[in-house]
């Protein structure tokens, strides 16, 4: 039984999959559909599609993208984030191809929507995204206004735990960089009430092992570094015991006797 998951992340901006650097610069990579197909074939434990320009433009979720992804017949659980405004959006996202949702700006701007979302799609399907930096504590970064908010507190996490199943801790400053996720964000995280997913500059095996050793992390979210080589996912998984992360999955070999 695997304690943690390896989650492949696709960041989308302007309809294109991009490599994102600290929420400031974006380099185009290609069609999100191609990346999703690769991650599905390589056997990640979940796929996270983060559309980063929908909320700011108040466009709602990208249902067209979801439908295109659904038409690929992905067999891996799909998490979608981007533009979700309320319970109706969350339900529409789930019905059109996603299996879980990632919500971000709602946490700070419309937290009153959280109960309705939970009551509609279930707490297990909702993940909260928390872009943070470490400065005398773990501080929340509000990306629309690009301001640093309050320190993330235990009280805050306790309130969120009624509506979310996990928190995605994003080291936004180190996003896109090599081996740079600030582990203090986890070591000093104020509460262990919610399992944490981590994202932002997580590229090396030892880094991943260190994060899992904290005992707070249930998922390692890895973005563009998975696109540099074939079988990157399987390569990473081979470094972990099967009690920690699910064994690698090869679709083209005899190991897959169910294909």
């Amino acid at each position: 039984m695997a304690d943690a998951r390896l989650i492949g992340v696709i960041t989308v901006r302007g309809g294109i999959a991009v490599q994102s650097f600290s929420y400031e610069r974006y380099l185009p990579i290609g069609k999100p559909e191609f990346l999703a197909e690769n991650l599905d074939r390589w056997g990640v434990d979940e796929i996270l599609v983060k559309v980063v320009d929908r909320s700011k433009k108040e466009m709602g979720p990208d249902i067209d993208l979801l439908r295109r992804l659904a038409s690929l017949d992905l067999q891996t659980p799909l998490i979608y984030g981007g533009g979700i405004r309320d319970a109706q959006d969350a339900a529409t996202v789930i019905q059109n191809g996603a299996d879980r949702v990632l919500i971000d700006s709602i946490l700070t701007e419309k937290s009153y929507e959280l109960e309705a979302i939970r009551d509609c799609i279930g707490k297990q399907a909702v993940i909260g995204a928390v872009p943070v930096l470490f400065s005398d504590g773990v501080k929340w970064f509000e990306y629309k206004s690009r301001t640093i908010h309050d320190i993330v507190s235990a009280n805050m996490v306790e309130k969120l735990s009624h509506y979310l199943s996990e928190l995605l801790v994003i080291d936004f400053k180190n996003e896109g960089l090599h081996n740079s996720f600030n582990i203090k964000l986890i070591e000093k995280f104020p509460s262990d009430l919610l399992p944490l997913l981590v994202f932002g500059g997580i590229t090396e095996i030892e880094q991943k092992k260190e994060l899992l050793r904290t005992g707070m992390v249930s998922g390692l979210c890895v973005g563009n570094s998975l696109n540099y080589r074939e079988h990157a996912v399987q390569h990473i998984k081979r470094h972990f015991s099967q009690t920690l992360i699910r064994a690698p999955y090869f679709i083209e070999t005899k190991e897959n006797k169910y294909g």
Partner: protein, 203 residues
């Protein structure tokens, strides 16, 4: 495998596209069911996952689907409930309140002991010896649930490995409930669903 026309119940949430895609991949056709009228012509029913019990059961009852679903199953129409769909088959659920289910598989739905959510890939342990499903013993499937199904041993088809006996699958006649998501458990999930459909369809 013969082509079956599945009725996937739409209760206002549910990962319908994922389930529909999986069934199409297996060569079947799908009808999305929102009313009793739309049940006609379907040979096999699916209650999909992803949602919350009170909202889903309210939708089914308000649209007068509940009694028709139960009647069809009593007449022998096979039905598979996935995750929340499995919970809807219970007698009662304590998710966000106290609500009656469809009572297709006697049991109740309650939170996990520590209020936690089970997320990730877990192995199955089959309670009943089965040639059809033996190849899936100890294989890992994707789970994502905050609530669990509690029932008598006679209805338990499989449990979650290393979990202290949490229910992974329940069965009563032609009704099969799966706590995990076969439609999102990659090749092994698709193979399992295919086997389950064949098994239920052949009676």
């Amino acid at each position: 495998m013969k082509k079956i026309n599945f009725g996937i119940v739409n209760y206002g949430a549910g990962n319908i596209a994922s389930v529909s895609g999986c069934l199409s991949r297996l060569g079947h056709t799908v009808t999305i069911v929102e009313s009793a009228e739309e049940l006609k012509g379907t040979n096999f029913l699916i209650l999909p996952g992803v949602g919350a019990f009170p909202t889903a059961i309210k939708f089914i009852k308000v649209n007068k689907l509940a009694q028709h679903l139960v009647a069809r199953v009593k007449l022998g129409t096979p039905i598979i409930g996935i995750c929340l769909g499995m919970h809807l088959m219970a007698t009662k659920s304590f998710e966000l309140g106290n609500n009656d289910g469809l009572n297709l598989i006697p049991g109740r739905v309650e939170p996990h002991d520590n209020g936690s959510t089970q997320i990730g890939w877990r192995p199955l342990v089959f309670r009943r010896p089965s040639e059809i499903f033996s190849t899936f013993e100890a294989q890992e499937f994707y789970f994502n649930n905050s609530y669990r199904f509690v029932t008598e041993n006679k209805y338990i088809f499989a449990t979650v490995g290393n979990s202290g006996g949490n229910v992974a699958a329940v069965k009563n006649g032609t009704a099969l409930g799966l706590q995990f998501h076969p439609e999102k458990s990659q090749n092994i999930g698709t193979a399992f669903l295919s086997r389950a459909i064949e098994s239920l369809d052949s009676g």
